[in-house]
């Protein structure tokens, strides 16, 4: 029998940032100071403050989590401890032994995606494969990829629908536009974040430190592609759907009250594999690779095909190209 389990309820989801004064640019001393101060203030008073600030009333706060640093200032040892703690927590909650890794950006690699709209037939295999790979919950349903059905010759997104459900696709007179995070070079979501919990990695992937996010959802409002998702409730996921190969910045199971998004499956792509949506696509519409490599498929497409980007006028400079042919 399938059983849904409640996922993490982490106190720092609403109070972990310490009032927006966090600095993610490597000010270790400053952060140490904050940590020491909090340590000193620990005790009965801190219990009350933490419980009140985080709104976690009756739950026992986890001080390791409460005092966890921003991902970018953590040392390797600190990361190890954090990953071990998260793995143990996942084990306790789901019964599944998972491995949380932290693959680093590869030097000289700039990921890009290209999608052939002549080939995409709107079958949504990518949507479901992405959900499986990234531990996305079914209740409430969360999906990173939306496939918009549009009339041929039109790009009026408001007139399209994601709720199409015919027996067979493609339907005559329609085309299908899958939209996911475009990993913009000029990402409005990153600028909108007041706590620097989201940033652009050197390989072009926009990531979120789920333990630093305060859940203000400014990034979600800033994204013109509707690519970010918010965990309104503690997500539940069936144990048999848990993907044990997890990345700290990508598909580990997220706590309630934080924003998440597509990361081009960085736990796969930084290890040389293709993203899950790419591998499952039966039509060959999806192309992925290193834009800095002149021999890569995406580079050849960008150089030789008539590529276009969604909402170009906004100047977001996406790493996600659409083309026909």
């Amino acid at each position: 029998m399938k059983k849904s389990l409640p996922m993490f309820r982490e106190p720092e989801a609403s109070g972990g940032c310490g009032g927006g004064s966090c600095d993610s640019d490597g000010h270790e001393d400053h952060d140490e100071g904050r940590r020491d101060f909090l340590r000193m203030a620990a005790g009965a008073a801190a219990v009350g403050v933490a419980a009140t600030a985080t709104g976690c009333g009756g739950e026992k706060p986890d001080y390791e989590e409460l005092l966890q640093k921003h991902y970018r200032v953590m040392t390797d040892d600190e990361k190890k401890r954090v990953f071990a703690r998260l793995e143990a927590k996942t084990k306790a909650l789901t019964g599944v032994t998972v491995h949380i890794s932290d693959p680093q950006p590869l030097e000289g690699v700039h990921y890009a995606y290209a999608l052939n709209l002549s080939h995409c037939n709107g079958n949504r295999r990518c949507v479901e494969a992405c959900a499986r790979e990234n531990n996305l919950p079914n209740d409430p349903e969360m999906r990173y990829i939306r496939v918009i059905e549009l009339d041929n010759g039109s790009q009026h997104l408001e007139k399209g629908t994601v709720h199409y459900a015919p027996e067979k696709v493609p339907q005559k007179g329609k085309f299908y536009l899958p939209v996911q995070c475009h990993q913009c070079d000029n990402p409005p979501c990153v600028r909108a974040c007041p706590t620097k919990a989201t940033w652009k990695e050197p390989d072009g992937i926009v990531v979120v430190d789920y333990n630093w996010c305060i859940g203000c959802r400014y990034c979600q409002a800033a994204c013109p592609y509707h690519a970010r998702r918010f965990n309104w409730v503690a997500p539940s996921i069936e144990p048999d759907r848990v993907n044990p190969n997890q990345g700290y910045l990508s598909n580990r199971i997220r706590p309630v009250g934080v924003v998440e998004k597509c990361t081009f499956c960085l736990h796969r792509t930084r290890n040389g594999r293709y993203p899950a949506c790419y591998e499952v696509c039966p039509t060959g519409a999806r192309k992925f690779g290193n834009l800095a490599d002149p021999q890569s498929e995406v580079r050849k497409i960008v150089e030789n095909k008539r590529v276009w980007i969604l909402k170009e006028e906004l100047g977001t400079e996406p790493r996600f190209f659409y083309f026909y042919g």
């Binding site: 590869l106 000289g108 079958n123 949504r124 295999r125 999906r143 290193n290 490599d293 150089e303 400079e317």
Partner: protein, 193 residues
């Protein structure tokens, strides 16, 4: 465009140049390749310096291959007629070339286990792409470059490529319709977008 931004990076350019040179020295010139063999590209930059692309052989996917198993003692019918056994389905499910085609446009009369190109060369079923692209030449360029078709494996390492018939049934090449996965749950109180 993003691609142009990379060109501006002096560091990237030098690195790309070095790798190309290294690749050229290591590999020499590219040569035509047979399916199942490995085709080396010209030393792309990336964490893995040498990328090989394997074309998946087609014959293991054909349940009735070799064709000579049945056809060895049968006379070929070079003229069109209504098929009576085994291939009857092709009588009404053949959707290629607007009724101008007959079996021996592509299958060889001389050797039924081979295909024949428009110029009369015999090619194996594993090399069907050589036959298809006799007419669809633009696709050959895209397919060789990885811009068309399915490419599996690693984006920076060894890749496996599928030949044309893996997706396009040569007798009815249009990609088949599929049943879509379920639509997303409707957002409460919001109109669908």
């Amino acid at each position: 465009m993003s691609a142009k931004r990379f060109h501006r990076s002096a560091e990237g350019r030098t690195w790309v140049g070095k790798c190309s040179l290294l690749g050229a020295l290591l590999l020499g010139a590219c040569h035509p390749h047979a399916p199942g063999e490995k085709e080396h590209s010209e030393g792309p930059p990336g964490p893995t310096p040498v990328v090989s692309v394997t074309i998946e052989p087609r014959t293991p996917m054909l349940p009735a291959y070799p064709c000579s198993g049945c056809h060895a003692d049968r006379q070929p019918h070079p003229e069109k007629y209504v098929l009576k056994e085994f291939h009857e389905v092709r009588n009404h499910e053949f959707q290629h070339g607007e009724d101008k085609f007959w079996c021996y446009q592509c299958h060889s009369v001389k050797n039924i286990d081979k295909l024949v190109t428009a110029t009369g060369e015999l090619v194996s079923f594993d090399e069907a792409f050589l036959l298809c692209t006799g007419c669809h030449g633009d696709k050959l360029k895209d397919w060789r470059a990885g811009m068309h078709g399915l490419l599996m494996g690693n984006w920076n390492g060894d890749k496996r490529k599928k030949s044309c018939p893996a997706c396009h049934d040569p007798h009815d090449p249009r990609y088949p319709s599929l049943k879509p996965e379920k639509p997303p749950a409707a957002s409460k109180g919001l109109k669908a977008f």
